[in-house]
Amino acid sequence: MPVKIPMEKWAGSVRTVTLGATAADGGTRQHTVTVGGETTLPFLHFEGEIPNRPVVATEIQDRRPDGWSELLMEAWGDRMNDPGDWAKAAEEAGADLIALTFGLTGLDGQPTSAESARLAVRKVLDATGLPVMVSGPGQAEVDNELLVAVAEEGAGERLVLGYCEDRNYRTIVAAALGHGHLVHARTAMDVNLAKQLNILINDMQLPLDRIIMDPTTGALGYGIEYGYSVMERLRLAALQGDSMTQLPMLVTVGEETWKAKESKVGQGVPETWGVWEERAINWEAVTASSLIQSGADIVVVRHPESVKRVHAVIDSMMTANDRGGS
């Protein structure tokens, strides 16, 4: 019996955004990364185009971080001592993008300075040919100070500057406009807040194809369902034609999951949680893989093994084999 597959006729599509610039475009990246462009829901190849694969960014910091799980410290080892080395290691581990984040203070306990931020970005840009995203510690004033310096240092590289939030978007957008960068627009798990911030940014004349939106997620077991559903709703709105939601989405999975006790702690936890390392990586990989299903175009992870796992999942999702009806 011939079954007619119900198709949605979507009015809109996700914008295409390119990260990084090669020499031809005034940067020094060996290649660029393009995300977005979907004309249907995630991986529904039978219904529309998924022209660009989701990508995996690896988070590194400007210096050896405090308070990261021992498992991460072991995985990256001494290469965490220098952001250039660490970026190189991340590239070797298969990252598509480098996501450099700054801590509030340096190893000496002093607040991270604009100068040291500049130096760290320079090292990362020199060490790797991948496109780079840079974000501050998440405190509006500090973010502003550091990112303005970073924007100047990386002029022309089409970096992604974050976090651009309602409190500080003006400074970051101005820095992006001034030096040819993109912004990472972050809002707290709400469709309307995400739209609103995109409108504000766009009002400053930053073109929409230079915005990546981060609707925020929680980790598996700690609010992932809210992030998952907000992303589904944003993507549906985009496909239904709401232009201020038609942007690729990014989620900082590593930052969230490695806060969870399941990832952080190896001792004094229930036996039913299983082997620590396996569980911790599963926590990150499962969170990342499920958010790809709800529309993430960029997932930022911390463990090298997660990079491999999420890539395998993306490979499998991009191998279309429809055996539906006629």
């Binding site: 079954v3 569980r279 893989s289 055996r323 539906g324 006629s326």
Partner: protein, 452 residues
């Protein structure tokens, strides 16, 4: 899918062509058949009130009222796994209702002893997630040997080690018959009927009153089979679209859900069984896809605590009703029998928050009084940002719980994330010392040790 008032009207005496002689007779208590139809559509009237509806119309109306995805159940010794009756494509539209059953597959070639060992440990697995006890749901036994005795023995071994429901797997009707005999007394899922064996499988399913999984590698083929099997008298079916990659699975499962919900397409209005181990080397990611995207029964090929725990939590998260955050009752919680000099801590009534904190205190052996403020089921920062966890609410919690009569000190520990509340809380609670605890509950035991 529910019919509209007009669609219903066409099936009532007044809407038939030519109209029934009793059309608009008002005996139902409504002025016209159309008015009655509107009430029926709004579920404010019962069809039985009208004595003149034709049998044909009755059939159509009851068929339309049936859920678009039929419920299928497997059961054993009081355990039951039900799938189906879902109503939405996306959880934010309402909620997903029936958490998919997670089954672990064993093969009759594994050997009876190995099966017993594997099944007993998987059966005993129970993990606590925010006060909920999560477990695996059952086992799938595959007749890989091709030998009826071996299949029967494997089923016996599984039953000896677990009371949970089963999926029996063989495409050979003779083997399946042996399997069903070995599963006497329970309701397993019979997996599976295909284009070649369906008649014999349908007979077995009917005889044992067990739901039947139907396998075909195209939706056309699946629809053909379900109709033939239904005609042979089997109503309870489960679909196996036999897919090989994650993308293929997502496409097929999405198409099946859409056909059922949007088109009310009966031949494919059944729950789905998925074998994610066959889709991708990353079996956890594949299982997550099956859980999020519409499978009703999920068969896993491997079991280890580190891999089942995230899957059980993910399933719980996705099947949480988005309209109601999981919460605990606000009030005073006594941890490890605290005395008057033990510390007082405050948190919110979001389950995840409450259990993160109480598990830390309890697990570390510390004693303490945990005040749970009514923050409308929100986490510490969410509630703070939404104005539901402020100095006033915390002070109110202190007052209404009567904690002041139970302790000999006047000091309270705030979550580190809301350190900014200290000043206001000092004003709300004169005479109290406001302490700021660590940001994350993991660091609470250490903090309590230092503080005491």
């Amino acid at each position: 899918m529910a019919l509209s008032g007009i669609q219903i009207y066409k099936l009532l005496p007044g809407g038939q062509r030519p109209p029934h002689p009793k059309a608009n007779c008002k005996e139902c208590g409504f002025p016209t058949c159309l008015a009655f139809a509107m009430k029926l559509a709004a579920k404010q009237a019962e069809l039985s009130v009208c004595g003149y509806v034709s049998d044909e119309s009755k059939d159509k109306l009851s068929a339309a009222a049936a859920p678009p995805i039929r419920l299928a159940k497997v059961s054993s010794n009081g355990h039951e796994v039900a799938a189906g009756n879902e109503t939405v494509m996306f959880r934010h539209e309402k909620t997903f209702f029936h958490r998919p059953g997670l089954f672990l597959r064993v093969k009759d070639t594994d050997g009876v002893e190995a099966i017993k060992a594997a099944v007993s440990s998987a059966d005993a697995y129970l993990v606590d997630y925010v006060g909920m006890e999560l477990t695996l749901d059952g086992f799938a036994v595959e007749a890989a040997s091709g030998d009826a005795t071996a299949f029967g023995a494997a089923i016996g071994a599984v039953r000896g080690a677990s009371d949970r429901p089963l999926v029996l797997m063989s495409a050979d009707a003779a083997l399946m018959e042996a399997g069903l005999e070995a599963a006497e007394g329970m309701t397993p899922l019979v997996h599976s009927a295909n284009a070649d064996n369906w008649e014999a499988m349908a007979q077995l399913a009917k005889k044992h009153q067990a739901p039947l999984a139907v396998c075909a590698d195209s939706l056309d083929g699946l629809a053909d089979l379900t109709q033939k099997i239904k005609a042979a008298g089997v109503e309870d079916m489960v679909l196996d679209p036999c897919v090989g990659t994650m993308a293929g699975a997502l496409s097929s499962l999405t198409q099946l859900r859409r056909l059922a919900l949007k088109e009310n397409f009966r031949p494919l209005g059944y729950p789905i069984i998925a074998f994610p181990g066959e889709w991708c080397e990353d079996t956890e990611a594949a299982a997550v896809l099956a859980i999020a995207k519409y499978a009703g029964f999920v068969v896993l090929d491997e079991f280890s605590p580190a891999s089942i725990y995230p899957l059980l939590v993910f399933r719980q998260n996705i099947y949480t009703n988005p309209q109601e955050p999981i919460q605990v009752t606000p009030g005073l919680y006594e941890i490890n029998k605290p005395g008057p000099s033990d510390p007082v801590m405050v948190t919110t009534n979001f389950s995840i928050t409450y259990f993160s904190v109480s598990n830390e205190i309890e697990g570390s052996g510390n004693k303490g009084w945990l005040l749970v403020a009514d923050a409308e089921g929100m986490s510490v920062l969410t509630a703070w940002a939404a104005g539901k966890f402020d100095a006033e609410r915390i002070a109110k919690t202190v007052k209404v719980t009567g904690i002041e009569d139970k302790i000999s000190h006047r000091s309270i520990i705030l979550p580190g994330h809301v350190a900014v509340l200290s000043g206001e809380l000092e004003e709300e609670l004169p005479g109290w010392e406001i302490k700021v605890g660590p940001r994350e509950a993991v660091n609470l035991p250490q903090y309590l040790k230092m503080a005491i």
